[in-house]
């Protein structure tokens, strides 16, 4: 799988994504610099990593969407290319209109960094197909603006289209106010676009994909993507 990891000024998890894709999963991985438009036709996956692009000044992701590289990514996505936005990357995907909805400040008003559980709501996407029977994943979150919001009608549309991929839950897969760390509507933790080739998620799969730690649920997402690119061959 040929992967691209975008580097914005202020990207922090770019090296982590690179580490997992290249050093742990042995995939061909390239940096994509924010100032450059590029032909991404040969890529199987583009990742918008977490961090504080442009310092998150104004609003998380609001400035990054105007980067030259975003034109290439929008073009890539519109032509069916697979794009994964993690945390700040999710925020950028919303700002540039590739995904619907907004991310607001956490209900607590504070940054939250901890392990949470998410339930896989759609295991039939290129991002989740390799999960097998496992439908509750333990993945860390680390964000200040992760409270997803979309109007009720659009939320229902996301649900009926199978665009909601992850919801926050407890270790048994139950969804409740206590298991929702940031106040997201419908406990939404990750969604795709209607074509299901673009996904944004607040939890960080790259933080639980290195076998040095006992928890490696994040690998499910990367392995699904690798399997998918093989199938497309």
């Amino acid at each position: 799988m040929k992967c691209g990891v975008v580097v914005f000024p202020g990207s922090n998890c770019d090296h982590d994504c690179y580490h997992i894709l290249h050093h742990v999963l042995n995939q061909e991985t390239h940096w994509l610099w924010h100032k450059e438009e590029a032909d991404l036709g040969s890529f199987d996956l583009v990742i918008l990593p977490g961090g504080f692009s442009y310092g998150d000044y104004l609003r998380a992701g609001a400035i990054a969407r105007f980067s030259p590289v975003m034109n290439s990514i929008i073009h890539f996505a519109e032509n069916g290319g697979t794009v994964l936005g993690i945390c700040n990357g999710f925020q950028i995907l919303l700002e540039c209109g590739l995904l619907p909805g907004v991310l607001m400040q956490n209900q607590s008003g504070k940054f939250i960094c901890k392990n949470v559980f998410v339930r896989v709501e759609n295991s039939d996407t290129v991002f989740t197909r390799d999960g097998g029977e496992k439908n509750v994943l333990e993945i860390p979150i680390a964000h200040h603006q992760g409270s997803y919001y979309i109007d009720p009608r659009s939320l229902r549309r996301l649900e009926s289209n199978g665009q909601i991929v992850f919801r926050y839950c407890d270790d048994g897969g139950n969804i409740s106010a206590e298991s929702n760390p940031n106040g997201s509507v419908g406990a939404v933790a990750g969604i795709t676009n209607a074509q299901k080739n673009v996904m944004g998620m607040m939890p960080h799969p790259e933080r639980c994909a290195d076998p040095l730690w006992s928890r490696t649920d994040g690998q499910i997402i990367f392995r699904s993507l690798i399997a998918n690119s093989r199938r497309r061959g």
């Binding site: 000044y57 680390a142 933080r207």
Partner: protein, 751 residues
């Protein structure tokens, strides 16, 4: 320094102006003698910051010479931006701890944030990539109105800066005591990794080298932050000094880290220095001083944030996120290209000259011409008077017979677990990104933070420690205990301690009693470091931590760094399995002085602090280290505040999301309170599978370490019997809830 702005640059220097600059009449006379003329106002400003306590260490320097600073692995000791120790595989660790106390009390969010920014710059100016931040925080009494505001502000400041800059905050310590009501402590630690043959130092290199200004533009913020804020007590005018607190921009810091590390790959970079305290002035003087050269600069070329700034403002500004590079001529365009890539301001503002002077032009004329050595070495090294404080006689003894012992310890245990000095710091750590960069092997909340070192089998362990009540009761012993405990914590995580950095927080050094505390603490630290073979490679002194005459407890905070050779053999403090045996390494003595138990149950902060038997400490540490290396044990936890009972309870609920019960069966002739909550040093709680008990006991004998089986992991309760009589029985879930929620509940209250 509002008044100085009104003074015209050409004004005559009056005694009043000298005093406003925090300089004494004697110091002014010395300036005149060194220069053979009177300084102008701008030059006076330079002396004011460079000779301030904060920059010159004039009160502390003589004492600091007692600290051991070398070991075969030390590549850089004190005197540079950070200390550096070789850890093998061609890699070295650079680390330092530094205070940002006064700014954080006046403006907690920005004060703490810029403290984090400053310490990170100290690390990456050595050529090292910062991989971990820690901090040591002290706040006032919980009942004090301002405490909650300060706690929230400081934590928010640390979180906002570290998280955005992409460096994980992996641990630290927080204590509350009324002695910090008027003067909180914010000590920030950073550690970075550098190739051992690519360490950068702050020099200028040869004549003709170009001075390159990099980073944020210079504004009027922070003027005299170091000289007038950090080098004086707090009083009624303190609020008015808020403008001396700088404002941080972590985004620019992140860009600086990446750009600087890219620049360091080139041999034409001759030196680099952060513009920290005293800004452009101190970086220029210090770099020239280290190289034995001079510097000529034109301030008209400095990127400025606002119009109308005069030389005085530009030279003394402490605007954050600025660096001074020295590069060889001919490489200006290459440097500019890298800095432009990262969107940073950059300008060539001067060059290195042979004459050992700093000569500064502004508006076409020379506004400063000062010999480097007069400014850097000229400050008087003070031999401040010392005197043993009288309070020591009043607090030295506590008669245990006056205090009722208990037959049930349930209430005391619950109170201790819920007191914020002992309770879980989860509310704080959750706000810090502690995992970014994928190195954090042990999450915050265990004895030490542990980070793997990529591309090697090694890991690094870090612990920050100081019990300031012990130091108040006996500064010598208290400082020695801080060293021993930090080492013990690092050993409990499976590491071998290799070096230490210190942040010495004390009151007003002009008082002989404070200087006595300082002298004693430095001696205690020096002796302990020498005994344990730990070099002190960097540090910081923060004096004048007092308000209207009330000093803080002496707080000589230490951060000990250790190395784990095999990152798969990292140990944590939480019990792992029901049925495992619990044992105590070390033994408990009849000591209760200075304990958290006395403070919480009787509101008394007196007595003799625990005795530190250094030889026994060494045995206990080597034994525990060997048990971990041989993979014989499942957990190891240092016994500290709250004693044995609290340590075992913490082990019950600090393994990820799991909770275990425990049953302890103790036999002892000690009082129940000292047995359960006394804070005897050199004790470690371990757990292991039952079948290893004999092997471990035999090893203990070989190490001459005291060792006793005390109980078993398992069940739903925490139960303790002493001489077969039950003294504690509590549901573990109840204890865990008290411990886990108390600090957050306090911090979240709205007042």
């Amino acid at each position: 320094m509002d008044n100085s702005k009104k003074i015209q640059p050409g004004a005559e220097i009056t005694p009043a102006i000298v005093a406003q600059h925090g300089l004494t009449a004697a110091e002014f006379r010395r300036i005149r003698d060194l220069l053979n003329r009177a300084p102008n106002l701008t030059e006076l400003g330079i002396f004011s910051v460079m000779w301030s306590e904060h920059c010159s260490y004039k009160s502390s320097r003589a004492h600091l010479k007692k600290l051991p600073v070398t070991s075969p692995k030390v590549l850089q000791g004190p005197g540079e931006n950070a200390g550096v120790i070789d850890i093998g595989d061609g890699i070295a660790v650079a680390f330092k701890i530094e205070s940002h106390n006064h700014p954080s009390f006046i403006e907690p969010r920005q004060g703490a944030a810029t403290g984090v920014g400053g310490i990170m710059r100290d690390i990456f100016t050595m050529g090292a990539r910062p991989i971990a931040l820690m901090n040591s925080l002290r706040f006032g009494d919980l009942e004090e109105r301002r405490t909650r505001f300060l706690l929230n502000g400081v934590v928010d400041g640390i979180a906002s800066y570290g998280n955005c800059a992409g460096v994980p905050t992996v641990g630290g310590e927080i204590y509350f005591d009324s002695c910090y009501n008027g003067n909180i402590l914010v000590n920030a630690f950073c550690l970075g990794l550098v190739k051992s043959d690519r360490i950068f130092r702050a020099g200028t290199g040869g004549v003709g080298n170009q001075i390159l200004y990099v980073g944020s533009k210079t504004g009027r913020d922070g003027i005299h932050g170091a000289s007038l804020l950090a080098s004086a007590e707090f009083d009624e005018t303190t609020e008015g000094k808020r403008p001396t607190v700088q404002v941080g921009d972590p985004f620019t810091e992140k860009l600086l880290i990446e750009a600087c590390l890219e620049l360091f790959a080139f041999d034409w970079v001759a030196g680099v220095q952060d513009m920290g305290a005293a800004g452009l002035t101190s970086s220029a003087f210090e770099m020239a001083h280290r190289a034995g050269t001079g510097v000529r600069m034109d301030l008209a070329k400095v990127p400025l944030r606002e119009d109308g700034m005069v030389a005085y403002d530009i030279l003394l500004s402490e605007s954050q996120e600025r660096m001074l590079f020295v590069i060889e001529p001919g490489h200006e365009n290459e440097a500019a290209a890298i800095l432009d890539k990262w969107g940073l301001n950059a300008a060539i503002i001067g060059e290195v000259i042979a004459e050992p002077c700093v000569r500064i032009q502004f508006d076409g004329r020379e506004v400063v011409n000062l010999p480097v050595s007069a400014v850097v070495d000229g400050a008087l090294e003070l031999r401040r008077e010392t005197k043993r404080p009288e309070y020591l006689d009043q607090v030295a003894h506590i008669n245990l017979h006056e205090l009722p012992d208990f037959s049930r310890g349930d209430t005391a245990l619950k109170k201790l677990l819920a007191c914020p000095n002992i309770a879980s710091k989860e509310w704080v750590f959750e706000q810090y990104d502690h995992a970014v960069r994928l190195n954090t092997l042990v999450l915050p909340g265990s004895d030490a933070a542990v980070l793997r070192i990529k591309d090697t089998q090694k890991a690094v362990a870090i612990s920050v420690d100081c019990n300031s009540r012990y130091c108040y009761l006996d500064p010598y012993e208290g400082a020695a205990i801080a060293v021993a405990e930090a080492c013990r914590n690092v050993v409990c995580s499976g590491a071998q301690p290799i070096g230490l950095t210190n942040c010495l927080n004390f009151g007003n050094p002009e008082k002989p009693e404070i200087m006595w505390q300082f002298e004693q603490a430095v001696e205690g630290m020096a002796d302990a470091c020498r005994f344990f073979g730990i070099p002190v490679v960097s540090g910081n002194v923060s004096l004048y931590n007092e308000t209207k005459g009330d000093a803080i407890y002496p707080t000589p905070t230490v951060a000990v760094v250790g190395i784990i050779e095999n990152q798969k053999r990292v140990m944590t403090q939480g019990f792992k399995k029901s049925g495992d045996q619990i044992a105590l390494i070390g033994f408990t003595m009849e000591e209760l002085g200075g304990t958290e138990y006395l403070k919480i149950m009787f509101d008394r902060g007196e007595g003799k602090p625990p005795v530190l038997d250094r030889a026994r400490e060494k045995q206990v540490q080597s034994f525990c280290g060997e048990l971990i290396r041989k993979e014989l044990i499942a957990s190891a936890h240092d016994c500290s505040e709250g004693g044995l009972a609290v340590a075992v309870a913490e082990s019950c609920f600090s393994y990820g999301g799991k909770t275990f019960g425990a049953t302890l069966a103790l036999e002892s002739t000690l009082r129940n309170d000292t047995l359960l909550f006394g804070e005897t040093q050199s004790r470690i709680i371990i757990s292991f599978p039952e079948e290893r008990a004999d092997e471990i006991a035999n090893m203990a004998a070989a190490f001459s370490a005291n060792f006793s089986l005390i109980g078993k992991v398992g069940g739903t309760h925490f139960t303790v019997t002493v001489n077969e009589k039950e003294v504690i029985k509590q549901k573990i879930s109840v204890l865990k809830k008290l411990w886990a929620t108390s600090l957050g509940n306090y911090a979240r209250q709205i007042t």
